[in-house]
Each structure stands twice: as C-alpha cells, then as structure tokens.
Symmetry: C3
Subunit: 351 residues, 3 copies
C-alpha cells in the first residue's frame, strides 16, 4: 500500500502541514521510522524526537504545528496511528466461505457461505447460530445453542461452551475458554459435592479477550462482560462476575465469583479481586494488588491488601525505612535507660 500524505489526511481526518504529496508506504514508531514512513507523537514532551526522526511525515495534535517537518495534525495522534496501521497492514483472514472440513451440526444456523469464514477443523454444535462476517479459525469449538454475532473473530482453538453469547465484533484470541463451569462445591474440603453450573456467559459487542483467558459460566444467570471491555492474556473471570463497559483488565488478573466491576475500571497485571464485592466506575487498581472489599468510584488503589494509592506510597516508604527505624528505636531505648538511671542516681543521692 502506498498513499500520499494528502490521501492519508482525508482518510484520517487530519490537516497537512508541509508537503502533502510525499509518499507514505509504511507506519513505524518514532525511533525506527525512516524515509517513506509515517510516525506519530502523542506526548509534547517527546517533541525533540521529531527533529531527530527521518520519517517522511508525523502525526501530531493541534498546537504542535510549526516544527519544520511534514505533519498531519489530528485530534488524537495515537488513534490516528492505529488507523494508519490498519490501513497499511490490513489483517487478512485468508478466504471467505465454509470449509467442507469444518463440522457443522444440521440444526445450527450459519450465515450464507459467502458471508462467513469457517476454517477446517471447526466444530459448530446443535442449534448454534453463526452470524454474517464471523471468522472461525481451525480448532474452534462452538457448543450447542451458542451464538456468535456479526463480525466476531475467534482465533485457533477457542472453546465456547453451550448457550454462551458472543457479541458483535468481539475478538477471542487463541485458546480462550468461554463458559467452563464455575468453581462451586458444597462441603468443600470434605466431599466437594459439585453444584451444577447452569448459567451462561454473555459477552457484549466490541470486547476483546486475550489468549488462554478463561471466563466461567454463571452458576445460575449469567457472567457478563459488557461492551468494549478489553481483557489481556491468561486472565481468570469467575462465575457471575460482571465487568462494566470499557474496563481494561491486564494479564493474569483473577476475579472471584459474583464480583461486580464498574465501567472504565483499570485492573493492573496479576491483581486479584475476591468474590462478592463491588468496584466503582473508573477505579484504578495497581498491578499485583489484592482487593478484598468494595472500592468507591474513582479511587486509585495499590497493595495487597489494597489501600488508597497515597497511603500505599506512604506505607511502602516506611517499610523501606524499617531497618533504620528499628536501629533508631534500639538507640532510643538505650538513651531512655541512661536518663532513667541518671534521674534514679539523683533520687538516691537525695537531690
């Protein structure tokens, strides 16, 4: 793909400053960009890098216009950069059609042959529905009565259990499991009597789920991942959890059963939430935090057990000073003993 900067300006809704006829053939980061490349700068503190780059054009935000380079001024340079990447490197799913080597049960409903991509080695169960634009890679398993809505992409070896609902434009990366049984047993540690998990998982539109992440079906009712949520790799989401719109869950997070996460929440890598709590909208949880109770909206927390981020910083600073504190305390103890002895001596002397 080759485009002039002018053409890109139309596609990315930006304004050219400099030579609009310059030809762009590739998109690169600012450090690696060379002649023929488009790059971007999101943060004014990196302005110096613009001077050093050999890129043929740079995406910048308004107010960064006069830099003596070919610029494309856009509202959000990082978003525009993403769109440019999609333009120059469109993902290619290989073919449209239903492979004769896929197994599709007769009672399943699949959008016409010209509208879906179903690879060899896919299995689609009874009464499942596969809508138009869906891509199912080899090894994908769709249980009975599951629904895969329009334009969803399921990469290799994804497993979607019976009756689960996958929204439009959802992306499930390789090895994702949706709808495995929640972890529910009566008489734990003694007989471990299984409580059947008869609910479902519902994933709303525009969700993306990272490789080998697992999302358990509800005991009763639904586990619910709302619109626009992005989940990284190897995350565990327990039964009956609800994740609010546009929240972001970084890799290896674990969320126990029935916890409700608000919208726009950020959960840092390897953090964990116990079950049956509520996390307010726009909460930020630092990486590796252990959250053991409700968090009101907008809070930033860290640590395990979690604290407000400021308290955590203060506490951590103290912990670093602990050996010194202990030393000081030993010295203090000695000095107080001496003071006591001196006063005692005076008392005994009678003055």
């Amino acid at each position: 793909v080759q485009k002039t900067l002018h053409e890109l300006a139309v596609l990315l809704k930006g304004k050219v400053i400099g030579d609009g006829a310059v030809i762009i053939g590739r998109v690169r980061g600012i450090e690696e960009a060379e002649k023929g490349d488009l790059t971007f700068i999101a943060n004014p503190k990196y302005l110096k890098k613009i001077k050093a780059t050999s890129a043929s054009a740079i995406l910048v935000s308004p107010g960064m216009e006069s830099l003596g380079k070919n610029l494309l001024v856009v509202d959000d340079p990082y978003v525009a950069f993403g769109r440019a990447l999609a333009l120059f490197h469109p993902e290619d799913h290989g073919f449209t059609g239903i492979s004769p080597l896929a197994v599709i049960e007769k009672s399943a409903t699949v959008a016409g042959d010209g509208n879906v991509t179903i690879y060899p080695g896919v299995y689609v169960g009874r009464h499942a529905r596969i809508e138009r634009g869906v891509v199912l890679y080899p090894g994908v398993y769709i249980g009975h009565n599951a629904v895969i809505a329009e334009d969803a992409i399921l990469y290799a070896n994804v497993s979607v259990y019976r009756r689960c609902l996958i929204g439009r434009r959802v992306i499930l990366h390789a090895g994702v499991v949706v709808g495995s049984d929640g972890f529910g047993f009566a008489r734990p540690g003694q007989e471990n009597v299984k409580i059947p998990q008869v609910g479902i998982v519902q994933i709303d539109d525009d969700v993306e789920v990272g490789a080998n992440t697992t999302i358990d079906r509800a005991a009763i009712g639904r586990t619910w991942i709302q619109r626009g949520v992005k989940i990284d790799n190897l995350v565990q989401i327990g039964h009956n959890v609800i994740i609010g719109e546009y929240s972001i869950i970084v890799s290896q997070v674990g969320i126990s059963g029935s916890t409700k996460v608000g919208k726009g929440v950020m959960l840092g890598g390897q953090s964990a939430l116990v079950g049956h709590i509520q996390i307010g909208d726009y909460v930020m949880v630092a990486a590796r935090s252990g959250v053991h109770k409700d968090i009101p909206p907008g809070q930033v927390v860290a640590g395990s057990p979690h604290k407000p981020h400021r308290d955590w910083l203060r506490t951590e600073a103290c912990i670093s000073k602990l050996p010194e504190m202990r030393h000081t305390m030993t010295a203090l103890l000695k000095r107080v003993k001496i003071l006591e002895a001196r006063l005692q001596a005076r008392d005994e002397k009678g003055d």
Copy 2:
C-alpha cells in the same frame, strides 16, 4: 422438567412442610426466585430472605421448619440444591457414539460405540484406552498409552500426553493440559540442558480440573492428583507434586515441583507453594500467599512469605500504623533530646 414438591422430596430425601402438590419447574437463587421456583437457604442468618421470596418452595435444614412457606427439609440444603439443579438442568452431551470424523489409532481400546461419546476432531493415540461412559469433546488429544477411565468428561481442546491416567468421573475443562514436561534443566542460566521427563500424571477418581490448568508429568515416577480434588482454572502443578484427597485449589495457584499437599487442604487464589515442601492435612492457605516451607496439619496461614493467620493479621495491622509509628518515633526522639539537654544543663549547673 416439572415436578411436584412431593416428588422432589423423594428424589432429594427430604420432608415436605406445607403444600406438597405445588409444582416446581425451575431452580433459582433466593434473590431471583419466583413462583414455580425451588430455592434454598443454607445459613439461618438469611432467614429474613425466606419471608421476602416469591419462590414456590425452599430447601431448608432441620430446625428451620415453621416459617409459613412450602419447605423441603433436608440434611444439607446446599447439597440438595445442587442435586435439584442437576435434575432440572441435566447436562446434555449431545449423542452417544463415535464420530467417523474422530481419529482413533487401531491399537487403541475404546468401549463399544453405544457406550462412549467421541466427537469429530478427537484424536486417540496408539494403545490408549477409553472406557465406557467417557465423553471426549472436539479437539481432545489423547496420547499413546493414556487411559481415560469410566464416565470421565474431557471438554474441547484438552490435551492428555502419553501414558497419563485419568480416573473415573474426572472432569477436565476446555484447554486443560495433562502430562506436559516438568521444568527440569541442568546448568540453568548457562546451557539449560534438558532433563527428560519420563514419568506420568495420575489423576484419581472424581477429580475436576478447571479450564487451561496445566499439570506437568513427573521427571521420574508420577505427579499424583488424588480422589475428589477440585482444581480451578489456570492453575500450575509442577512435576512430582502430590495433592491429597478432597483438597481444593483455587484459580491461578502455582505449585512447584515435588511438593506434597495433604488432604482437605484449601489453597486460595494466586497463592504459590515452593518446591519440595509438605503441607499438612486440612491446612488453609489464604489467597495470594507465598508458602516457602512446611506447614503442619490444620494451620491457617496468610501472607508472602506466609505466617500463621493470626500473626499475619497482627503484622498487617502494624503495617497500616507504620506512618503513625514513624511520626511517634520522631517525636519521641525530640523529647528524649530535650530531656537529655535538661539533665545536661543541670549537670553543668552542678546540681
């Protein structure tokens, strides 16, 4: 499915109080239950909810009889609730038989066509044995000489390596890996010479393993998951580990090589055990604990490195007070300095 409360009483071995002819068509939690539903209450502290519910009948324990609702008195309401769920929502594996699109090596032994369920896309290796009642979902891989005992259910894309043994009624959720090589290398960090892992994994009867959990084969001998153990999603179990009967391992736990876990042990989510230690029977390890040495039977531990739970609580309380402690100590230091100065002044004055 529809049953009268009387019929349910027979099936769940309970005693009806109230209208035994009432018809039950569904099983729900106490908050959501409506007319026609059976619900349960496990804990007398939720008795108030019984008055508020619209459920047509409620499972209760003995001693909770006189509540003015239709009751089914059973020994353990949660267990009975589980059984009722299984009655009203029986899991349906779709068909009995061996799909012609499964690949079964000639030397494998598979129970007769009418006794197993083998989906398309399954692979069963040489000399493997698949016993009656087994269900193998699409994408299941059974290595050579492996054994899958009666009534085991292996969901989609499970991989069982060569020679591993899966017990009766075992459930392996999608993406589980049993029998991958343990992590053993000579000259680590230099040449990383692989030590072949020639042992097996043995999983005893009635074990359930969550989605994408991995259980490594032994270096020599066996990694052994004993009867009734329940393992959640994304757990890692190293080579030569032994997990005692009925223990419960919550998601994202990691257990390093050769560690022995007793029976009835509970390991909280994201906790970790180092290698070559012994965890006594009925130990409870709090979520996110890091266990670095043996734990005697019956202990409750928390923290990383772990401590007895009481000590951990006391220590955590102190940590929260650290900024305050530090402040107090600075003040103390000042006061002692003043005292010293005052005594010094007296000394110098000569009194």
Copy 3:
C-alpha cells in the same frame, strides 16, 4: 533397553570404578533406585545416600571415587543422568509422515513426507514453511507465512499466528499461543480504540515453552525469545519484549510490553516485570517479586516492589518484629512521659 556400565561409560563419556559388566536397565532417583538401576548424586552432601542405595551403579563427579559401589565418574552427574534418561526412555513421536487428515494449504512448503511428522487435525496456512524433522501434534495451527524450523516439536493444540518464526529444536508444549495480539489500546477506559499489532514473534533455536504459555506479537517489529531460553507453563510475555539467551522463566511469570531481559536471567515463579524496563544479564529475581524498574547486571532481587535481596531479607525480618516494635514503642512513650513528669516535678520544686 539394557546396557552394561562399560557401554554406558562410552556413551556418557565417563570412567567406571567397580564392576563394568553390571547390567543397567533403568534410571531412577537415588531414593527409589533398586538393583538394575543407574542413579546419580550431584551434591557431595548426599554422599551418605550412596551407601544406603540399592542401585547397581551411581553417576558421581571426580573426587567422589572411593565409595565401595559401582561408580561412573563424569564431569557433571546431573547432565549425564539426563542423557541416560534420554537413552533409556527415548521419546517416540509415533510415525514419520504427513497424515492425509492434516490440512496443508497448497502454497505452504513442507519438507518431504519422509522427513516430518504431521498428525491428523493439524492445519498449516498459506505460504507457511515446515522444515525437516518437525513434529506437529493434533490440533496444531500454523498461520500463514509462519516458519517452523528443523526438528521443532509442537505438541497438541499449539497455535502459531501468521508470520511468526519458530527456531530449530524449539519445543512448544500443548496449548502454547505464539503471536496473539499485544494489548494496545488508545483512550484506555474510554473508547479502547484497538491499535493493530502488525509485528511478529521470533523464537530462536533451542527454546522450550511450557504448556498454555502465551507470547504476544509485537505492535511493530518483533517480540524476541533468544536462543536456549526456557519458559515454564502459563507465562505471559507481552508485545515487543526481548528475552536474552539461556534465561529461565518459571511458571506464571508476567512480563509487560517492551521490557528487555538480559541473558542468563532467572525469573522466579509468579514474578512480574512492568513494561519498558531493562533487566541486566544474570540477574536473579525471586519468586513472586514485582519488578518496577531497571536492574543492573548480576543483581539478586526480591519483594514487591523489588529490592536487592539482602535489603529484602533485612526488611522482612523487621516486618516480623513489627508487633514487638510497636509494643516497645508504646512502653518507651510511657517511660519518656514519666521522665518528663519527674523532671517537671523537680523544676516545680525548684531544684
């Protein structure tokens, strides 16, 4: 397989002390070894075990010769033990050839039928290249333009996305995902605009990757696992990460985007590295550490946030003493108050 100790001496490049004609049929650990077995001792502190063992021969290092048993003296007994295991328990991949039930796109390049092992249920995409000696187990997915170099072994249900490069003799255990999209979104928590991930993963020769581990493709450029690296199960490696030669990554570690790990580094289980940092050569990171900034070469660190290991030990010792410290401080406070009162009384008395 049966060999005399003399024959083994030739194969393992060792020197026999004792009866070279003794017949060895098996390889076992020192605790379990019986007549007919070869065992080993790596550490002189276990010399006592040699006297107790019934093994027919023992691998030892130079300087441990005169023990009254049949010995095989080698440079590195553990390495020799590994080789002996491989001799007595060679792994058997079942057949050589390309199953007619594998799906190989026409434009793919696959080494001749006699030189590779491709099981039923494998999918090889357009323009992919499978070199000689490769073994692909059932359910393996190879995306378009990917390369699997000589003698690599990919176990069941491994997914390699488009254009990724897998080196010679690489072992990918079941469920591994290579090349899933990195976690990159603009306007996080608001719109979560996806940044296309157009780079690749490159895995160099002699790398081994544990079951269900995930390695994300680069945003632009490559995520790069260098020669001889060994990665355990359920590890997460973010986009654009570089892991230096012969480093060892224990299970459930998470490494965020663009971090560079040096060579010979050891990362303990469940530890985590934030993004965009550099870890020097031969650094050792204790299990469960949280690393938040660069670490110079050769350091040993622990804790979360991480500290030099010695500081961590000192700090942890203090934390254990915190309840005692707090008690001491309360007592000190009281004693200082008394001193102050006594001095005050004297002042008031006028002496």
